[in-house]
């Protein structure tokens, strides 16, 4: 039988392959795949999030990222998700305070540093918390404004403060702050300063002002933060506007224009979260906006890296510990908070991370560890330093939406 005797199929194979490959391939582009995954995102999030409830039945829940705790016992394990470079590490890379805590209290703890960016992290937890499900971590470390948003949305539980006697050590200026007016939902983890970090090898000169970030000589070598309040806050002060008192978008519009112009000119190499440190260290960023302790830590490894509070003024901020709605391990969380609010323990963290501790009495303890460190204005800001840094105003919800939209228009893809 020759091929011509065979019944002819409705369309020939080559035609079929070509058409179907054209269609199939069109559908296979990456965003389409991504989009398809996105459609079922809440499904995935809930699977990951139910880990918390599993623990009551004694089943171990698979973690979403990072280190497993020493001798994790599943049921009672406390899970703290924090920012990178934000706790003291021992020589071999273990988290010192976590180890001391487990030793002192017998509570197993899992500590991860997956928190890179407030907006990203919010997007990560939003599907679960927004539909009334729980997420895995018992304590998370949002910056104050995000803590405020989570409190307003009702997505966090009150802290078991009656079991945290050391909470009395909280610095007076941080009690009942604007983001948490009753002070029942959050305890600051660290506070700190935003200023300018630069790599002397790449700049070739010392920097002193925010204006230096806009120097055309550094075109394409400047990094800015995806954290709106830090980036816009610095630019506002450069323009002579006090970010702690603004109430409307109009007051900040000029800063947004300046940022948009710098981006359009190719001045800005990238907008980053906490991952700016690599680019700063390698010199890809000649200069960037950075957080005091991070950069001071990095400067210990790379002497070319410097940190300054610009002459026009820097920002101050606070990162908090909050408990996402439905977090179990409340007793363990209380023990942890009590532990890190003990000035002796807090001093260990401060001496390592080099941020401004929210715990009163830390300075004396740090002085015992390293007298020179206790004199650093970046760790223990003096009057002069404090007069030169500003917080960011607590924006109303509608105003915040306006700021966020304008900012993501500039930095967003």
């Amino acid at each position: 039988m020759t091929s011509s005797d065979r019944p002819r199929p409705p369309f020939d194979r080559r035609q079929f392959l070509r058409r179907s490959s054209a269609f199939g391939a069109a559908g296979l582009s990456l965003p389409a795949l991504l989009a398809a995954c996105g459609g079922d995102d809440d499904e995935g999030a809930s699977t990951g999030a139910t880990g918390g409830t599993d623990e009551t039945t004694g089943a171990t829940s698979p973690g979403t990222g990072g280190a497993s705790s020493p001798g994790g016992t599943g049921g009672d394990e406390l899970f703290f998700e924090n920012w990178p470079e934000y706790i003291d590490l021992t020589e071999d890379g273990a988290t010192g305070t976590v180890d001391r805590f487990t030793e002192a209290t017998g509570v197993a703890m899992r500590y991860t540093d997956a928190f890179n960016d407030n907006v990203e992290y919010f997007a990560l937890i939003q599907p679960a918390l927004g539909s009334g499900e729980t997420i895995e971590p018992d304590i998370i470390a949002p910056t104050s404004w995000l803590a405020g948003r989570l409190i307003t949305l009702g997505w966090v539980d009150k802290l078991p403060l009656d079991q945290v006697p050391n909470a009395a050590n909280l610095r007076p200026d941080l009690q009942q702050p604007a983001w948490d007016p009753t002070g029942e939902y959050s305890l600051p983890w660290q506070t700190g300063l935003t200023g300018i970090a630069y790599n002397l090898d790449a700049t070739g000169r010392e920097l002193t002002r925010t204006e230096d970030l806009f120097d055309p000589a550094f075109r394409g070598k400047i990094g800015m933060l995806t954290e709106m309040r830090d980036t816009i806050g610095l630019i506002l002060q450069h323009l002579g506007v006090d970010p702690s008192t603004i109430t409307s978008f109009d007051e900040a519009a000029e800063a947004f224009e300046m940022l948009a112009q710098a981006k359009a000119d190719g001045q800005i190499r990238a907008f980053t979260g906490n991952d700016y440190l690599d680019d700063l260290s390698t010199g890809n960023f000649a200069a960037c906006i950075g957080w005091s302790g991070d950069v001071v830590q990095l400067a210990l490894e790379n002497p070319a890296v410097r940190f300054i509070i610009p002459e026009e003024g820097g920002n101050s901020w606070a990162d908090t510990m909050v408990m996402p709605k439905g977090a179990d391990s409340r007793d363990a969380a209380a023990e942890w908070m009590n532990f890190v609010y003990d000035p002796v323990q807090a001093a260990q963290i401060t001496a390592y991370v080099q941020f401004v501790s929210p715990v009163a009495g830390v300075r004396e303890e740090v002085a015992k560890l390293d007298p020179e460190l206790a004199e650093s204005p970046l760790l223990f800001p003096d009057e002069e330093m404090l007069s030169n840094v500003k917080g960011f105003a607590n924006l109303g919800e509608d105003v915040e939406a306006e700021f966020d939209a304008a900012f993501s228009d500039i930095i967003g893809a």
């Binding site: 080559r14 996105g38 070598k221």
Partner: protein, 361 residues
């Protein structure tokens, strides 16, 4: 036996052929619809369980029919059985998400931090996608097109040499082409970012050779840097998708009978003309397939622009990723995905129309 008897005998056979094929086709469609409906969440809870049970029943019935029906029935049912895994897979993992996505793209978020969008036939997401993301769409397609052209320029000669001059090294050379796939896509791109870093070896070498100004004039470098430039993004895309261009071109070149070229030379055709009139036309199907495999995924790529680009080189893939995962505006992201798919589909149709392979081979 008379001719009339034979005719009489064939009648019922044809009828049963018809019936079997109809049963096979209906079963296939029913199974596809059931699984897609479950995937689209049109059927939930007990209904979904019922649908899956129905699906299994259909498959089981067909198997029983095929076994009981004898070789004739088996042969007629076989194509539908063989199509089933593919159809069901696509119905669940392609059609159902596509439907969900279409629905999402016509929805509105009731409030700023809402998780569930409400379906209300709003086309606002589409107008916003066009209004706000024009430059990203343009860049996405421009970079993908540039990378595709570069892939052809690099890949064609390489495939040619492997196919015609590779000799016994052919398989080794092909293996080397595929070798980069042994490493993850992401890792390869991040490797580029450290190779091209300002203090990295390549910038150092260019600097050492005093070629910086040449590269700047060619717009490959910008203020002494290679990375975080459009050139780096296009380069990364080219590198990552090159094997998808080389392999189809190689396959089509390898099939060409060398005697054809010899024949041309016997007829006094100079080598370039033999290439242009024989080898090139015969290899165009490979170029066509390679172009589709390169351009389409490259147009939606976001990894290269993320790691090798700057805030002014974001591609549409980055915007979609940002809207989906950072801004959590899924309706807008879904609309942008649909616009991207529509544009790519149209582009592919136009391309097929002008460069379709059917007439060539």
């Amino acid at each position: 036996m008379s001719a009339a008897d034979a005719e009489h005998d064939r009648e019922p056979a044809r009828a049963s052929t018809h019936r079997d094929e109809l049963v096979g086709l209906v079963a296939l469609i029913a199974a596809g619809v059931l699984i897609a409906a479950v995937g689209m969440r049109l059927l939930t809870g007990p209904l979904a369980t019922l649908a899956v049970a129905g699906l299994l029943a259909i498959v089981a019935t067909l198997v029983v029919m095929a076994i009981a029906g004898g070789p004739q029935a088996r042969r007629r049912l076989a194509p539908y059985g063989l199509l089933k895994p593919g159809i069901l897979w696509l119905a669940l993992f392609y059609l159902a998400p596509l439907f969900t996505l279409a629905r999402e793209s016509l929805s509105t978020l009731p409030s700023r931090f809402a998780v569930q969008a409400e379906f209300d036939w709003s086309i606002g997401n589409y107008t916003q996608a066009f209004r706000d993301f024009g430059p990203q769409f343009t860049r996405g397609f421009a970079y993908a097109a540039a990378a595709t052209v570069l892939c052809i320029a690099i890949g064609y000669p390489l495939a040619y040499v492997i196919a015609f001059r590779g000799g016994r090294w052919r398989n080794l050379l092909l293996g080397l082409v595929v070798l980069p796939f042994f490493t993850s896509y992401l890792i390869r791109t991040i490797a580029w970012s450290s190779l091209l870093a300002d203090s990295g070896p390549i910038v150092g070498a260019i600097d050492g050779l005093r070629l910086t100004s040449v590269f700047e004039a060619l717009q490959i470098m910008d203020n002494d840097r290679l990375i975080n430039t459009p050139a780096a993004v296009i380069g990364g895309l080219t590198y990552n998708f090159l094997p998808f261009m080389i392999l189809p071109i190689y396959v089509s070149l390898e099939k060409i009978n060398p005697a054809l070229v010899e024949a041309a030379k016997d007829l006094y055709s100079p080598a370039p003309s033999a290439f242009r009139r024989i080898v090139l036309p015969l290899s165009l199907p490979g170029v066509f397939a390679g172009t589709l495999l390169t351009f389409i995924p490259a147009a939606g790529d976001f990894i290269n622009a993320e790691y090798l680009g700057n805030p002014n080189t974001t591609m549409i893939g980055n915007s979609i990723q940002d809207q989906f995962l950072v801004q959590n505006d899924r309706p807008l992201a879904a609309a942008m995905s649909f616009v991207l798919m529509a544009v790519i589909t149209v582009a592919v149709f136009v391309y097929t129309k002008f460069l379709g392979t059917e007439e060539l081979s």
